[in-house]
C-alpha cells in the first residue's frame, strides 16, 4: 500500500479517527493500535514478509534486553555481534544473495571455471533496507551506551515498523523516536495544518512534477539512440529532478502523516540542487541515510585512517559512498554510482574544503554569479552520474553517456523540450524562493487573505487530481530500495 492510493486514504481516515479519539486516553493502547495499523499497512502490500519484520524486531528487542543486563564486556560484545550478523545477514541474503551468486559465476567463468552456481527465487521484503538500518543503529547506540535499552516490547516493535516511514524512510534513530512513543501525544491544531500543507506539497511534487517527468525520461532513456546529445542532456536533467520530486515528495508525505499522529521524524532533504559542491549536496540529499552512514561507517573508518591524513579521509569517503551506492540495490550500476561520488570528493578533500561550508545567505533572492556557477556545476555532475543510477546495466549507462559526447550537444534538441523546460523552471523557482523553509510552501501565502491562500491550495489539489487521472501514475521510486 502506498500513500498515493485510495486504499491508503481509506485506511488512514479510519485509523486517524480511532487513533485520536478512543485510543488517545491510553498511551499503551494507542501504541498497540499504532503497531497493529503498521503491520496491517505492511501486510496489505507484502503479507509474507511481515513475519520477517516481526522476527527481526523480536531478535533485536531481546538482544537489546540481554546486552543491557549483561555485566561482562565479552558477553555484551558477543550479543552485539550476534545482532549485527542477524541484521546484516538478513539484508545480505534477501537483497544481495543473487547478486553475489551471479557476480561470482561471471568471475569464475572469466577465469575458465564452470562452477554451475544457481540463484534462488527470493522475495525481497519491501522496505528492508530502511528498517534494517533502524535496528542496527539501535544496537550500535545501545552497545556504545548512547541510549538506554527499550524494555517495552510494543514501543520497540512500533519504532521498527512505524508505517509512515516504513517503506521508504526517513531512517529514524531510536534516540529521537522511542522517547516520542513513550510520552503522551496531544493534538495540536497548528501542527495539524502544517502537516496537511506538507502532505499537499508532497503529493503535488509527485503527481504534477515527478509523474510528468517520468513520461519524458522514459521516452528519452528508452530511445536514446534516436536523440541528439542536447536532448540526452535534457533527459538526464529531467531524471535528476524527477528522482528528487518523487523521493522528496514521498518524504514530505511521510513527515506530514507522522506529524498528524504527533511525531517529528527525521528530515531527508534540504534543497540539494542548490548545493555548491558535492560535499554539500550529500549533506542535503537523503540526509537520514547519509547521516546514518556518517555516524556508523564513515566516522569509525575516518578515525581508523586518521594517521594517513587526507588520503585516509579519501579512502574512508570512497568506501562510504560505495556502500551508499550498494545500499540502493544489488547492481553494479549502483556500486559505480557510489564509487564515482566518492571520487568527486577527492579535489575537495585535497584542497582542504571538506569542512568549510559555503552557505547562501538566507533571505537572499538573487545568487551571485559564482554561487550560480557552483550550483549549476554540482547539479550537472549529479544529473550525469544519475544516468548510471537509472540504467539497467553499466554498458547501457555508458551507451547513453557516449551519446552525450557529440557535436550535437550544440544543436537544437530533437525533442519537444520547451513545455517541460518551463515546468522544470517553475519547479526550481518555487524551490528557490521557499528555500529558507523546511518545505517551500510552508510559509507561502500565510500573510495573504484566507480566500487567496485557499485558492492556491485548491489549484494545487485540482492539478494533483488532473495529473493523477489524466496521465500514467508511477510507483514511488525509492519503495523498491
Amino acid at each position: 500500500m502506498t500513500f498515493d492510493s485510495l486504499v491508503f486514504l481509506a485506511f488512514f481516515t479510519v485509523f486517524y479517527l480511532l487513533y485520536w479519539f478512543p485510543f488517545n486516553n491510553n498511551l499503551k493502547l494507542q501504541n498497540l493500535f499504532l503497531l497493529f495499523a503498521s503491520y496491517l499497512f505492511y501486510s496489505l502490500g507484502d503479507w509474507q514478509c511481515l513475519f520477517y519484520l516481526i522476527g527481526l524486531s523480536a531478535a533485536n528487542y531481546y538482544l537489546g534486553i540481554y546486552i543491557s543486563r549483561s555485566q561482562k564486556v565479552t558477553v555484551r560484545k558477543a550479543l552485539f555481534i550476534t545482532g549485527l550478523v542477524i541484521d546484516i545477514g538478513g539484508l545480505a541474503f534477501f537483497k544481495y544473495f543473487n547478486f553475489f551468486v551471479t557476480s561470482s559465476d561471471s568471475l569464475l567463468h572469466a577465469i575458465g571455471l564452470n562452477p554451475d552456481l544457481h540463484t534462488l527465487n527470493i522475495l525481497i521484503p519491501v522496505g528492508i533496507s530502511f528498517y534494517t538500518f533502524r535496528v542496527i543503529s539501535y544496537l550500535i547506540d545501545l552497545q556504545q551506551e548512547r541510549i538506554a535499552v527499550c524494555k517495552d516490547l510494543v514501543i520497540f516493535f512500533a519504532y521498527v515498523s512505524f508505517f509512515p516511514s516504513l517503506l521508504s524512510g526517513p531512517i529514524d534513530r531510536a534516540k529521537n523516536f522511542i522517547p516520542q512513543l513513550e510520552r503522551p501525544r496531544a493534538f495540536d491544531y497548528n501542527r495539524f495544518v502544517n502537516a496537511l500543507r506538507q502532505i499537499l506539497w508532497g503529493f503535488f511534487k509527485k503527481a504534477v512534477f515527478a509523474n510528468h517527468l517520468a513520461i519524458v525520461t522514459k521516452d528519452i532513456f528508452g530511445n536514446y539512440q534516436h536523440y541528439t546529445a542536447s536532448a540526452l542532456l535534457f533527459g538526464a536533467l529531467c531524471y535528476a529532478i524527477q528522482l528528487y520530486a518523487d523521493f522528496s515528495g514521498y518524504t514530505d508525505i511521510a513527515i506530514g502523516v507522522a506529524q498528524l499522529l504527533g511525531f517529528d521524524i527525521a528530515r531527508n532533504f534540504n534543497y540539494p540542487f542548490f548545493a555548491q559542491n558535492i560535499a554539500e549536496y550529500w549533506r542535503k540529499w537523503h540526509m537520514s541515510l547519509t547521516s546514518w552512514l556518517t555516524d556508523y561507517l564513515f566516522t569509525p573508518l575516518n578515525i581508523a585512517f586518521r594517521d594517513y591524513g587526507k588520503w585516509g579521509i579519501i579512502l574512508a569517503v570512497i568506501i562510504n559512498f560505495t556502500i551508499v551506492g550498494l545500499w540502493h540495490g544489488a547492481n553494479w550500476t549502483y556500486v559505480l554510482f557510489g564509487f564515482l561520488h566518492g571520487c568527486y570528493f577527492i579535489p575537495i578533500i585535497l584542497k582542504g574544503r571538506l569542512y568549510k561550508r559555503k552557505k547562501i545567505e538566507k533571505k537572499r533572492l538573487i545568487p551571485s554569479v559564482r554561487e550560480l556557477a557552483n550550483m549549476t556545476g554540482t547539479f550537472l555532475l549529479v544529473a550525469l552520474t544519475l544516468v548510471i543510477f537509472r540504467a539497467e546495466t553499466i554498458s547501457a549507462a555508458f551507451s547513453y553517456l557516449r551519446g552525450l559526447v557529440s557535436i550535437s550537444i550544440f544543436a537544437a534538441p530533437n525533442y519537444a523540450v520547451w513545455p517541460t523546460a518551463g515546468f522544470l523552471s517553475l519547479f526550481l523557482l518555487i524551490e528557490w524562493t521557499g528555500k529558507d523553509n523546511e518545505y517551500p510552501i510552508q510559509s507561502l501565502g500565510l500573510k495573504w487573505p484566507t480566500w487567496c491562500r485557499w485558492s492556491l491550495y485548491m489549484v494545487m489539489v485540482t492539478l494533483i487530481y488532473y495529473y493523477s487521472v489524466s496521465g500514467p501514475t508511477e510507483q514511488f521510486i525509492y519503495v523498491q530500495f
Binding site: 547521516s291 556518517t294 564513515f298 566516522t299 575516518n302 578515525i303 586518521r306 571538506l354 569542512y355 568549510k356
Partner: protein
C-alpha cells in the same frame, strides 16, 4: 597545564579548522552549538588537537564526548 589554558588552545584549533573566528568554547559547548562542527569536521578537530598536544585518543573516547568539557577532561588526563 591549567584547564583554562587547555580550553584556550583548543578554542584556537577550532577557529583554525572550522574557519570561524567567532567561536568561543565553554565546557558546556556541544556540536549542536556550532554550525560547522559536525561528525565530519569532528575527526579533523581531533587530529589537529592530537597534533597540537602530542597525545593520542582512543576511538571510543573520540565518539563518546558529549561536550567540550569532557574533551578537555580527557586532554588534561593525558598531559
Amino acid at each position: 597545564m591549567e584547564r583554562t589554558e587547555i580550553l584556550n588552545q583548543v578554542n584556537d584549533v577550532f577557529k583554525e579548522v572550522l574557519d570561524n573566528d567567532d567561536i568561543a568554547l565553554q565546557d558546556e559547548t556541544q556540536a549542536s552549538d556550532i554550525a560547522e562542527w559536525d561528525s565530519l569536521s569532528h575527526i579533523q578537530l581531533v587530529v589537529e588537537i592530537e597534533k597540537h598536544f602530542r597525545i593520542r585518543f582512543t576511538s571510543k573516547e573520540i565518539q563518546s564526548w558529549k561536550n567540550v568539557g569532557e574533551m578537555i577532561g580527557t586532554i588534561q588526563s593525558r598531559l
